[in-house]
Symmetry: C2
Subunit: 469 residues, 2 copies
């Protein structure tokens, strides 16, 4: 038997390497594509005219290298997907516990038995469900077009008119034809990234910032640079330095109720930021999805700038419903045509029914009342959660004026990712600081969603985890 000889000497080793090289070549030539099954051991041994044990060894070595994967009972598969576009393959390799996509999944996949103070949205029971139900009943009596036809390319005109008026309340002048509806706030940013940047372009984000910005920018293969965030906005000196050093094309931020810190941009920082942006040719995406949670009006970059180099985006996932998908972009006039083309090419029609539902809910007189009550409720649980955390030595970085987030510092020497791991074992999903931090400088922080932090078990579990249990 050749097989025995192979296992004993250099000749065997050469045969194994030859088999491995053959598989690698087939993958490189895309004769074997990621996710596809490798030839069976028997068949490939026959092809290569070697023993089955040679192929077993070759496959096992390739699996150890991560080139292929064994799947129980069904053979070996090419690892994949096509590597360059797999998000896991792009950007820095992060510990799973602080990987933005993993954190998102934890929250999205969590069943009702899981507590999720780390998640980024309100419990469904806090949402305006009476208004939602009314809107559904209203829609059930609407015309056929609303129920069954595509929306216009820009999206439902009456909703864009209403959004235009709502933005005016924040000082943002956007005519309805400068507004394009999207499927979500995330899709709005994604479309803008497709429109504005190319692979390799540099994008500035806040450090810390909403973790999905990292994942999204990874998908665009942008070079991401973080600017430390202060309680009044990005550190303006470091921002100026970053412009100088990295010549970024884009900056993505939240002006009011910053995620994760709950901070609010000050007028003076807003003004300086825009003054720096102009000579640098920087475009800014202002993600304002928490607009309706504000207690006092904060400055908006889009209001100062007049939608010249600032694009304003929003959605209804946080205040109305995350189940009804609808977001929007308010952009400079000259961009709308190109953005519309891109939207048609990549998603064809917008969500007509979702837009109708959002319109019905926003027009419903009960919505503002609901938001007032919600803000009062959030303010109260913010105080309670803050007190419970302080009792554990977990201290808020600042007291946010509004919103649902508390960005908190753990006692010295305690690692948030470690706490998150331990809490998860106890069915509590936390959001460790470094998921939000490009520089990985927030290892001592956790973001709490106060609306998801009313259960006493959360604090017990935190206490246990901090005691190393």
């Amino acid at each position: 038997m050749i097989g025995l000889a192979e296992n004993l000497g250099s000749e065997g080793s050469t045969l194994i390497e030859r088999a491995m090289a053959t598989i690698r070549q087939r993958i490189a030539a895309r004769a074997l594509t990621p996710g596809s099954r490798l030839p069976s051991i028997r068949a490939f041994a026959k092809t290569m005219q070697v023993s089955k044990s040679t192929i077993v060894e070759a496959y096992e070595r390739l699996a150890a290298e991560g080139v292929i994967q064994s799947r129980l009972g069904s053979g070996f598969y090419v690892s994949g997907p096509l590597a360059p576009l797999s998000l896991a393959e792009i950007g820095p390799k992060l510990d799973r516990d602080v990987d933005p996509l993993w954190i998102s999944r934890q929250s999205l996949e969590a069943g009702p038995e899981i507590l999720k103070p780390g998640c980024g949205w309100l419990p469904a029971s806090w949402m305006p469900d009476a208004g939602l139900r009314r809107a559904l009943r209203t829609l059930s009596r609407a015309g056929n077009a609303a129920l069954a036809d595509y929306d216009t390319p820009l999206g439902l005109a009456p909703l864009r008119q209403l959004l235009s008026r709502r933005m005016a309340e924040h000082g943002i002048e956007a005519s309805p034809d400068q507004i394009m509806l999207t499927e979500s706030g995330t899709q709005a940013i994604d479309l803008l990234c497709r429109f504005l940047i190319e692979p390799g372009d540099t994008v500035l984000v806040d450090d810390p910032c909403y973790f999905n910005f990292h994942a999204l920018l990874r998908a665009h293969r942008a070079k991401v640079v973080g600017v430390p965030y202060t309680p009044t906005g990005p550190d303006i000196d470091l921002f100026a330095q970053a412009l100088e050093t990295h010549r970024p094309r884009l900056y993505i931020t939240n002006s009011a109720i910053h995620n994760p810190t709950g901070a609010t941009l000050s007028p003076v920082v807003a003004h300086r930021l825009l003054k720096l942006a102009e000579p640098a040719g920087l475009t800014i995406i202002e993600d304002d999805i928490f607009a309706d949670f504000e207690q006092a009006p904060a400055p908006r970059l889009a209001a100062f700038d007049g939608l010249d180099r600032v694009v304003h985006i929003g959605s209804f996932s946080k205040a109305l419903s995350a189940s009804v998908r609808c977001g929007f972009i308010a952009a400079p006039h000259g961009w709308i045509e190109g953005l519309t083309d891109l939207k048609i090419a990549t998603s064809f029609g917008g969500g007509h029914l979702s837009a109708e539902l959002v319109l019905a809910m926003l027009k419903d007189g009960s919505y503002r009342k609901h938001m007032e009550a919600l803000k009062a409720r959030l303010s109260q649980v913010m105080g309670e959660t803050s007190a419970r955390l302080k009792a554990l030595g977990i201290l808020p970085w600042l007291e946010p004026q509004a919103g649902m987030f508390l960005w908190c510092r753990l006692p010295d020497g305690i690692d948030a990712a470690d706490i998150a791991r331990k809490a998860l074992a106890q069915k509590v999903v936390l959001a460790p600081g470094n998921a939000f931090s490009l520089s990985q400088a927030s290892g001592g922080y956790l973001r709490f969603n106060v609306a998801q932090s009313t259960d006493a078990r959360i604090f017990k579990s935190l206490e246990r985890a901090m005691q190393g249990r």
Copy 2:
């Protein structure tokens, strides 16, 4: 005055060119971004220390070159958007009348007074509106999570289970965990393109094919190669040649009820195609959004292939509602993780409410009855439309077994784009052949949607247009 001198001699010309060069440099350095306003003529004249008339001339020349645009009453703006990602800038420059994006827009923007035999979907009045209304009322009584919470990353499990069973009826074995819901069929293909190809990769399409494939692939900056389509599928010899010559990574097609031709892939072509695909390492996206319109079951590539190198996608826009956005991908096991990451990064949650609505409608006993009646109705208007067209000398390329499309040849010497232009002036939106054809070989064809072709004015308008009026 320097200004007068400038207008007279080479010195003036040099000053104009210097001003133009300065603007060009600022655009190149992104100090002036697309869509942004140029300095006022007065201000820029001061900066450059030249006369205002020099700047006027410089701006006008730049505008003539298309670098900037004048906007009435508000000055000059940098043309744009950022050029490389503007779809209009990518790919071949097409006559507006056969530009895929322009055709889509015509149909999407058409008000009720417009007749649109060129559009790709049914009139809203043909859709199952009673079922839609019932589903909305049912949803209005659903739990809070269905109304207000994000969906799971893969999408509503009961809907994926139902889709798995429905695909099994077409011989496609896809377990529910191989199925991911998307916002639409188009978004499904878009996600797959992001996952599978890189700018510059070659993608095969049918010639003719659904025109939005062209727009979508332009957005991905793919190199697109067309393979002539025959009544039984792509021309298999030319397909083999294209694989050899262009080494494409991907092929996008419809197997059953091909758009625009209404053709059906034959089993023998399907088998040969897959045999060619394997050694070439070709991945195939089978877009099956017209699945429910079939009269007799056609072969599916995904059924032959077992979701190894074929990805199957579908949506509900054509049979249920284009207003409720929901599509899906059935993909090889190893791809689902990466696709889910990409979906979260670029759109966060899926359309939970849309998925609930689709599930309610598909489970509604009346849906199959509706589809049976719809197919009979389509078959009848297909015959009627075919007869009316034949009377005008416009001849179907084949008699489709089902669906809503008739791909028709105009009498010799008549140009479809010309007819489309003339018809549009009479408020009739047609779909000229070359919008579907990469090689621009379908200039003598029009695609008719028989469900949108019941109005006699369409045929009058066609007759007039063909007579050159």
